[in-house]
């Protein structure tokens, strides 16, 4: 059974439909990139997948062994975070908050996990630094470490490389790629179509609905893909 299945999903805000008739499924081990122009309903779809938004019609079905505790999420940064007085360690550890659990404090295991994720992303040295004093790339790594603390099986990323320079962007995609190789299911909304095609296994192209759904290879050869990737093909 797929981890997540969407059936005839219709999504909208206050009566205005932004995307209709979305049916697709995310299998264990997939690396899905959701692409499309601004306002095509990509982020809305992701919010629905994350249960942050209820669909107007249709349904999202979760496999029995996918609990909300298994989901990690790297959201777009909010203005609140830009000047937030917290250390990187505190931010990463907050990914371990026991959802629904009764224990009010972090366990030694949580702390170990947070340390391991920071180590993995090469930000152990920043543990006691203030989040607001980091560079954009470092902040994004800290938030990814937090998402990994929460993610057991699936990681959602909403435009994770917006505002990062090309070098950091490539590093970031490599990191995600490594996570995927280690068995993490990845679902990413991205504007970086070239990296999406290069790294991800499957592409979902949205424009008020699904324009294309298939492997990255098929996408490159499809009409939709050819137009969207345009003449700037890198490799």
């Amino acid at each position: 059974m797929p981890l997540i299945t969407c059936k005839n999903l219709c999504l909208g805000y206050e009566g205005v439909t932004v995307a209709r008739d979305i049916s697709f499924s995310i299998e264990k081990g997939d690396y899905y990139s959701i692409v499309g122009r601004n306002g095509s309903g990509k982020s809305t779809l992701m919010r629905a997948l994350l249960r942050l938004k209820s669909p107007d019609s249709g349904e999202v079905i979760y496999s029995d062994d996918l609990k909300q505790d298994d989901i990690g999420y790297l959201a777009q940064q909010t203005p609140v975070q830009k000047d937030f007085p917290a250390s990187v360690g505190e931010v990463v550890l907050s990914g371990c908050v026991k959802r629904g659990g009764l224990l009010p404090f972090y366990t030694a295991e949580d702390r170990k996990k947070a340390d391991a994720k920071m180590e993995l992303l090469g930000i152990s040295g920043l543990k006691n630094k203030c989040f607001r004093e980091l560079s954009g790339g470092q902040q994004q790594r800290a938030l990814l470490a937090r998402a990994l603390c929460a993610a057991g099986k699936i990681l959602f990323l909403d435009e994770p490389v917006t505002g990062l320079d090309p070098v950091v962007t490539t590093e970031f995609f490599e990191l995600i790629n490594n996570m995927h190789k280690q068995g993490m299911t990845i679902v990413m909304v991205s504007h970086d179509i070239h990296c999406a095609v290069k790294y991800s296994g499957k592409i979902l192209h949205m424009d008020g609905g699904i324009l294309f759904n298939g492997t990255a290879e098929e996408y490159k050869n499809s009409e939709t893909g050819a137009v969207y990737i345009g003449g700037h093909r890198h490799d």
């Binding site: 989901i71 990690g72 908050v97």
Partner: protein, 274 residues
């Protein structure tokens, strides 16, 4: 000097004011950090106006002031949050509407019964004489509850303050915790209102946390520093107002402003060095 202070604290009303003030300052400073970071500072201000309206009504109708005001302000807090969430009326306008509306109702109620005398003054700007023995007991109990709940839910309050969307996506009941913060704030506001004054109480929520954020870089140290600053400013304000015969609430606020400026200068100097 010490003898003078000893004499000062031999007065029962000063002791009561000290106990209630320290507890309220502590609660306000803890909650303040989260409120300021969530851009909810105005909720504290709005709630204090609602508190004024409620207390004036309670007096007019001969209800027990605290027992009437606490539930009214808690309900107002729930309403304010609801309205801010549904973006039909913008959050800040909603707060302005509710707070000025409550202020007007309060002034009407008070003028009908007492004819705009000193009572209004003490509601708006606070009175150190307002604390009865029951108030002290009630304040003690309620602030203990606020502090315990804050500590128990500290990690979740951090998660919800830092990133509501992430918290919601990973299964934290964000609305429940927002509600918890708002309800605890409303209790704190009502407790502190009569001593600090309806127009001044929200400064206890805002100043200490902003002061702490000037120099502290970890959430935990911001919370701790905010609590220390808040309590010390209150005690200093109480002592100075006693000797200088100034209104306590206003004195505490002015000291908070002074400390904020000092901290802002320190943070300037520190960043310049680096």
């Amino acid at each position: 000097m010490i003898e003078y202070i000893q004499v000062m604290f031999s007065y029962t009303f000063i002791l009561r004011a000290l106990v209630v003030g320290v507890l309220v300052s502590l609660c306000a400073s803890l909650l303040g950090v989260s409120l300021v970071l969530k851009r909810y500072s105005m909720i504290g201000d709005g709630l204090s106006h609602v508190g004024f309206g409620a207390i004036a009504l309670a007096t007019a109708l001969n209800f027990a002031p605290m027992k009437f005001t606490v539930p009214v302000v808690v309900i107002a807090a729930v309403l304010l949050l609801r309205v801010s969430e549904s973006s039909k009326i913008k959050g800040d306008s909603a707060i302005a509407m509710i707070s000025t509306g409550a202020l007007a109702v309060g002034i009407l109620a008070a003028s009908m019964t007492t004819g705009m005398n000193t009572d209004i003054n003490s509601y708006l700007f606070g009175s150190i004489l307002a604390m009865t023995k029951e108030d002290v007991v009630l304040s003690g109990t309620l602030s203990a509850i606020v502090i315990v709940l804050f500590l128990v839910f500290y990690n979740r309050i951090f998660a919800v303050t830092f990133d509501e969307t992430f918290a919601a996506a990973t299964g934290t009941r964000v609305r429940a915790y927002n509600m918890l913060i708002a309800v605890l704030t409303s209790i704190t506001v009502v407790l502190g209102m009569r001593m600090m004054g309806a127009l001044l109480i929200s400064s206890l929520i805002i100043f200490p946390s902003l002061t702490a954020m000037r120099v502290c870089k970890r959430f935990k140290s911001v919370i701790f520093m905010s609590a220390v600053v808040s309590v010390l400013c209150f005690i200093a304000g109480l002592i100075i107002s006693y000797f200088a015969s100034t209104p306590t609430g206003a004195t505490v606020v002015v000291i908070n402003i002074g400390i904020y400026i000092i901290f802002a200068l320190i943070s300037r100097l520190l960043t310049r060095k680096i």
